[in-house]
């Protein structure tokens, strides 16, 4: 009996009228966990019932605690007929299972119905008493922290990065069960929602187990996805990076003994004692070792940019049984070895971790879902992903890299065809975070030359490049070779030296294909894929050159499959890396030079292109220092004008080495005009309209060249669906698709014009083909305002250092004290906070920047409480009796606060952002992962304002529910927020529509830096008190 879940139903408000006669509702609540259900009394005739129930207690295994959501159903009592359901609330109690996350869930949560949407709110209190279970064979993994953030979370430090964890669970999709024919849409939707909640819980628990097995205590960069396969099932899969994290706190002494007493600690401290861990680690770290030795041998080697592996194994489904069996056999032989992939879902790294970057590696595979032998079991899908990961691994190897960073996986499904994709960036990592000796790392760290350019230096062998590339000596250190362009899927390293600013670069492509079935279809698709990727690559390259830049970060290529077309969308952030050579221009070559008018045409176009490049260089402030060129000129033989290096994938390696030497800066990218594709390319190049004045955009976390963000942030989601005409040519389709994306961007700029000067960060586009002739584009991003005036002055110093600051040790003491101080002097701070509201620099963008007094106040209160709670937890731990002493008064005060907010002022503000940080603020606590899945359906589409009205409401509702749950956890923001799924289906003829949305993020508490400064005088006594509590365990 390792856990006791307690829930209390306090009150409801804004309930819908369920009884037409009286215009009132007789509401009661069912609280369900697992198979146990409790009910409250009926609160008659009220739309704002006050149940104030007893504590409902569920005694359950921690395994169930992790898997099951707490399900709260609000019903209208009906004496004569069946009770009507008003709606439900699912509460993920996972955040309560980790001692460092939230301790109580309390607040107003929207009551949600899949047909009617939000129908009022309910105030609940949920707590968990967890008894520690040291059983080694347990199935639960309570205490493992999960983060969506793809970097080391801001208030933690990485002790060790263990590596890749993945898991996949399969179930029958309730929508495709026979029973669905007879049940109501509501019942079907609810079955689906519940199932996915259960599956996510299970998945997270299983991943947690793997993490514990590896000796870690957290998963960073946790990415969970759903595959709605249809008939063959519903797949929930997740990948992440297992780490051992340590909260940055008090004294270094306690730091090595994290205060949570999870078994992982023991394992970590004495790896030799636990053979299983040792085995695990050794297999893991071996590739690292071999690679690092190679590194020291002499790495001033090889090549380039991008390794594309557009791999199609279409129609292979039938033959799958063979390799599958073999794979399974292998798996059983050496399960560990097979599972080990040197993959990291991180996109931002602790300093000194990322040594060199090779280039993008990707792999795709086309599969047929109706050929899965045992659809209810995960083996087949496991084998599929296994295949792809192996491929990625080998691609990385061929780039001379031992690791893949910024790794992600995705699928696209149309009927029975499924494209599996994986991509990442081949890299060489320091062993610093992969083995125990922290002293050893100091040495290694010094080996790395100038961090500003080190990662650009090629990791591969110069003479053994699998594709053509031009190498030059690094423009920063001039000691090692660098490629001419660099494509990566990671964020721009904070230490990288960049010239000018960056910008969003997109390549968009549409290809028609014939309608087909089964293997024929799969083959057709896999034949198309390489061309698609190749063209996307070409487009990216051209657009990059046109902007005068030489590197792409955050590259994400999405390929979506429909019945009659394939869509490809590549997004990345282009920058000019100071270490890399300046890109040459784009040169257009005509096929028939004799024709005069034709020449004229070409020279016009050439002029246009040249003008655009010049303009872009100005726009993005790209003026690399000219001096560098002269110095670098000497070791390189005389530059030679090369006429054609474009599309030379097949060139032999001899050729390549020659090219390396002959490369010069003036080398231009050549476009042959006779090529219809080229015409198209040029067209696409020139139709991309520049961002309006005052706007910048990127799809990475931070924009190089901009530092002084204000506190004004605006997260948004925009969705567009476009209906195409039948019988469009490829070109026509391309144009439409490209315009669709461009117009969407333009609309965003217009919407956010009040925030200028601002930057749209983390612009994340997702494309889908929901139906034949429909294209859906969804964007989630955040707009950040910045101060233009200061950009020039202190920009570099302050901005570049802040991210690193969080990790450096000098800062720790200060940080913790500040945090504590909130507790001791909060009463005196509140009025200050209030007076500050007035003087806050909200003038710039009044529409977004606001932080009400109530909000602040409550965040302080939360902080206090959390602090108090952690102290208590720290000292009590195993004896749950003391824990029990406190919950009631606290519960009371919480609900009081909530009541106050109901009658009086406004709802607490919750910020949402896809970034891992909040500008101008410090994240002081991570409260747990938010992972929510909702279905909304309507059979009165017109009445709800058509498809747009329907989806608008739904997205707003999803936001509201995320905010409410974060607030209930005691948080005031969600970071690393993403909308991973938005599946929209409509049937206007039947006046129906359905939409599924899946969102995730990390709930956090942040404190404005300005507020932190206010509290910088702190009493020492509080510090010792807490640290004692921590050591007591």
């Amino acid at each position: 009996m390792p856990g006791k879940l307690k829930a209390k139903i306090v009150a409801g408000r804004h309930l819908p009228v369920m009884d037409r006669a009286s215009d009132l509702t007789d509401a009661f609540v069912e609280v369900k966990f697992g198979n146990t259900t409790f009910k409250t009394d009926v609160y008659p005739k009220s739309l704002n019932p006050q149940w104030n129930s007893e504590w409902f207690k569920f005694e359950v295994d921690d395994e169930d605690l992790q898997d099951e959501p707490l399900q709260i159903t609000v019903l209208d009592h009906d004496t004569y007929s069946a009770n009507d359901a008003i709606g439900k609330v699912y509460i993920d109690i996972d955040p309560l299972l980790c001692s460092e996350a939230a301790t109580v869930i309390s607040g107003w949560l929207p009551i949600y119905d899949t047909i009617h949407g939000i129908r009022g709110e309910i105030n609940v209190l949920v707590k968990v008493d967890l008894f520690n279970d040291l059983n080694r064979f347990r199935q639960s993994s309570c205490g493992v922290k999960f983060f969506c953030t793809t970097s080391i979370p801001r208030c933690y430090r990485a002790i060790m990065v263990h590596g890749f964890v993945e898991e996949l669970v399969v179930n029958e999709d309730p929508e495709y069960q026979w029973i669905d024919r007879i049940r109501t849409p509501r019942a079907s939707n609810e079955a689906r929602q519940r199932l996915i909640f259960l599956m996510s819980g299970e998945l997270q628990r299983k991943i947690g187990l793997k993490v514990l097995e590896m000796g870690g205590n957290a998963v960073v960069g946790y990415l969970q996805c759903f595959d709605l396969e249809g008939e063959s099932g519903l797949v929930v899969r997740a990948i992440g990076t297992a780490c051992t994290l340590e909260k940055i706190s008090t004294f270094p002494a306690t730091a090595t003994h994290p205060s949570n007493s999870s078994p992982s600690k023991d394992m970590k401290d004495s790896p030799q004692a636990a053979p299983s861990t040792l085995g695990c680690r050794s297999t893991h770290s071996s590739p690292v070792h071999s690679a690092s030795s190679r590194l020291s041998q002499g790495f001033s080697v090889s090549v380039p940019t991008l390794l594309f592996a557009g791999m199609g194994s279409g129609g292979s489904a039938g033959k799958d049984a063979g390799p599958l069996k073999a794979l399974l056999k292998q798996q059983t032989q050496s399960a560990l070895e097979q599972r080990e992939y040197p993959f990291f879902t991180l996109t931002v790294f602790p300093p000194g971790f990322l040594l060199h970057v090779g280039g993008v590696v990707s792999a795709r595979s086309v599969k047929l879902l109706d050929r899965i032998h045992n659809p209810d079991e995960p083996e087949t899908r496991d084998a599929w992903w296994e295949e792809i990961r192996q491929e990625i691994k080998s691609h990385a190897k061929s780039l001379g890299c031992h690791a893949v960073v910024g790794y992600s996986e995705s699928t696209s499904i149309c009927e029975e065809v499924c494209i599996l994709s994986a991509s990442g960036t081949a890299a060489i990592l320091s062993s610093r975070f992969m083995q125990d000796g922290p002293l050893d790392t100091e040495l290694r760290f010094e080996e790395v030359v100038s961090p500003g350019c080190g990662f650009c230096h090629i990791p591969y062998d110069e003479l053994n490049i699998p594709f053509p590339a031009q190498l030059t000596y690094c423009y920063c250190c001039r000691r090692y070779k660098v490629p001419d362009v660099l494509f990566t899927t990671i964020d721009l390293p904070t230490e990288a030296s960049v010239t000018g600013k960056g910008c969003l670069i997109q390549a968009r492509l549409c290809r028609t294909k014939k309608k087909a079935q089964g293997e024929v279809n799969a083959t057709a698709i896999s034949n198309l894929l390489p061309f698609l990727e190749y063209e996307l690559h070409t487009q990216l390259m051209n657009k990059l050159k046109l902007r005068g830049m030489n590197a792409l970060f955050g590259l994400r290529i999405q390929i979506s499959v429909g019945e009659t077309m394939l869509l490809g969308l590549a997004s990345a952030t282009g920058v000019y890396l100071t270490a890399l050579p300046s890109p040459g221009g784009i040169q257009i070559v005509g096929k028939t030079p004799s024709d005069i008018t034709y020449e004229q045409h070409i020279s016009n176009m050439q002029k246009k292109i040249n003008d655009t490049i010049t303009k872009n260089k100005e726009l993005y402030e790209i003026n690399p220092p000219e001096v560098v060129e002269e110095i670098i000129g000497s070791p390189i033989p005389e530059p030679r004008q090369r006429s054609r290096l474009f599309r030379s994938h097949s060139e032999s390696s001899d050729d390549v080495s020659e090219i390396d030497l002959s490369h010069g800066k003036k080398d231009a990218f050549v476009l042959e005009i006779d090529d219809t594709d080229a015409v198209e390319d040029i067209h696409a190049l020139l139709t991309d309209s520049p961002t309006p004045a005052g706007f910048y955009s990127c799809n990475t976390e931070i924009m190089p060249g901009i530092q002084n963000w204000t506190s004004a942030i605006q997260m948004f989601t925009s969705v567009r669906v476009f209906r195409l005409n039948a019988n469009l040519t490829n070109q026509g389709l391309n144009k439409i698709f490209s315009d669709l994306c461009e117009n969407l961007l333009k609309s965003l700029y217009f919407k956010l014009r009040s925030m200028v000067p601002c930057c749209l960060c983390h612009l994340n586009f997702t494309v889908a083909i929901p139906e034949d002739e429909l294209i859906q584009v969804a964007v989630t991003a955040v707009a950040l305002s910045f101060d233009k005036e200061q950009t020039l002055e202190n920009g570099k110093q302050s901005g570049e250092k802040t991210p690193i600051k969080a990790i450096t040790e000098n800062d720790e003491q200060l940080q913790f004290n500040l945090e504590l101080n909130a507790e001791t002097s909060s009463s005196s701070i509140s009025p200050k906070g209030l007076s500050e509201v007035g003087s806050h620099p909200s003038a710039r963008a009044p529409s977004v920047d606001y932080s009400s007094f109530a909000d602040r106040c409550s965040s302080w209160i939360e902080q206090l409480k959390l602090k108090a709670h952690t102290i208590r937890r720290g000292s009590v731990k195993t004896t749950s009796s003391m824990e029990k002493a406190s919950p009631l008064p606290e519960g009371r005060s919480r609900s009081l606060r909530s009541n106050r907010s109901y009658s009086g002022s406004s709802v607490a503000v919750v910020k949402m952002t896809p970034l891992s940080f909040i500008p101008g603020a410090k994240i002081i606590k991570y409260l747990g992962i938010i992972n929510m899945f909702f279905i909304r359906e309507t059979s009165s589409l017109r009445e709800e304002g058509g498809v747009s009205g329907f989806l608008h409401t739904f997205i707003a509702e999803v936001f509201a529910m995320v905010r409410a749950h974060v607030a209930a956890l005691g948080g005031n923001a969600v970071v690393s927020y993403s909308m991973k799924e938005c599946v929209f289906m409509e049937n206007p003829n039947k006046n129906q529509a359905q939409c599924l949305i899946n969102v995730s993020g990390d709930a956090v508490i942040f404190v404005r830096e300005s507020e932190l400064e206010l509290t910088s005088v702190q009493p020492q006594s509080a510090t010792t008190q807490t640290s004692n509590g921590g050591e007591g365990t």
Binding site: Q714, I736, Y850, S905, S906, S948, A960
Partner: protein, 357 residues
């Protein structure tokens, strides 16, 4: 080829004041786009008409979704669906409840019923305000009326608290509710020269002095109805015109006081009995609900028009009314001083406010 679906949802709900105003004014999406294009927002932000259309539609949808909440402004503050900064919330409410003086002039004092609502298209044509906007304004009046009707305590305060309106707007609504409740006639031709603000001023005077809430600080009753007891007492004032001696005495006192102080003394003297009869008769009749409705028309016919035909300036009127009121207190046989003060105070300020072209 068409955009089938187009939505934008911000964590903080983005609302453009200009578009909000166009929406409130009843413009269709296409008309609103035209107005915006003419406003030059396109050049300013390098946008196209397409972008403008998309934005306008999106904003309109947002407003429609918010409208339900605006009907109960208190809900706007503690709803969870839209995250709207408090200052924005205040702006939304204030503008939603704002109204056109020319519109309110048309329905002031009318019963806020379905019948009146049906006639709104005529009002729309007459005032040039779009029907949609007329309907919104009318529904606002009705909603405020319904909520406040049954509440105890001061009217203005009730409105301010329930609808979170700024003070001046709350006062205007109090006037509208008060007029609707007492069904004051305001539409007659002779009253056309009066603006809504004139009436609102008068309503304020009446609310503050003639209702139960005005004298009784217990706030037990509402401000919406006139004090019945007071109306009953007003009948006693009739003695001022029925008693011949008293009337003559009053006249001589007033004339003595006025002599030499004005150019129109002769006219005043000649008209004294007439005017006095007019005012006292109004007072005496107020006990009948029907005569309450005619209060303003009576004031105009019985007092303002005669004065105007005698070319009295408002300074003259002020002078006259001051002495007229004060002299009554000196009359030895006249005993109803409190009622007289309470009555004349309001009458004087109303007449002075209404005495213009």
């Amino acid at each position: 080829m068409s955009v089938e679906l187009d939505v934008f949802v911000g964590n903080t709900t983005i609302m453009d004041k200009e578009v909000y105003q166009l929406w409130l004014n009843g413009y269709t999406v296409n008309d609103a786009v035209k107005v915006r294009i003419e406003g030059g927002v396109m050049e300013e932000c390098e946008a196209s008409a397409e972008v403008l259309l998309s934005d306008t539609m999106d904003q309109y949808r947002t407003f429609q979704m918010c409208e339900r909440l605006l009907h109960h402004p208190a809900k706007l503050a503690n709803q969870l669906l839209f995250q709207i900064p408090p200052d924005r919330q205040a702006m939304l409410i204030e503008r939603y409840y704002a109204f056109d003086d020319s519109f309110v002039r048309e329905v002031l004092g009318k019963k806020l019923s379905k019948g009146t609502k049906k006639d709104l298209d005529d009002v729309s044509i007459k005032t040039g305000i779009m029907l949609k906007s007329c309907r919104r304004q009318f529904d606002n009046f009705k909603r405020v009326f319904k909520v406040v009707e049954e509440l105890k305590g001061p009217l203005v305060e009730n409105i301010r608290q329930h609808f979170l309106l700024p003070d001046p707007l709350a006062r205007d609504y109090a006037a509208i509710v008060f007029f609707a409740n007492n069904r004051f006639e305001t539409g007659k031709k002779k009253l056309q020269y009066l603006t809504f603000q004139d009436f609102a001023f008068c309503a304020g005077q009446l609310i503050n002095n003639w209702t139960v809430g005005a004298v009784d600080n217990m706030m037990e009753d509402m401000d919406v109805d006139l004090d019945k007891e007071f109306l009953q007492d007003l009948k006693d004032l009739k003695i001022l015109i029925t008693d011949k001696d008293l009337l003559d005495q009053h006249k001589s006192l007033v004339c003595t006081a006025l002599r030499g102080k004005t150019n129109v003394f002769n006219e005043m003297e000649a008209n004294f009995k007439n005017l006095s009869r007019g005012l006292v008769n109004i007072a005496a009749k107020l006990i009948n609900a029907k005569d309450v409705r005619d209060f303003f028309i009576d004031l105009v016919e019985k007092f303002i028009e005669p004065c105007r035909s005698d070319k009295l300036t408002s300074i003259d009127v002020n002078l006259y009314l001051t002495h007229y009121t004060n002299s009554a207190h000196i009359l030895d046989t006249f005993k109803h001083h409190t009622v007289w003060t309470r009555y004349m105070g309001v009458i004087k300020s109303c007449i002075l406010r209404m005495y213009h072209d």
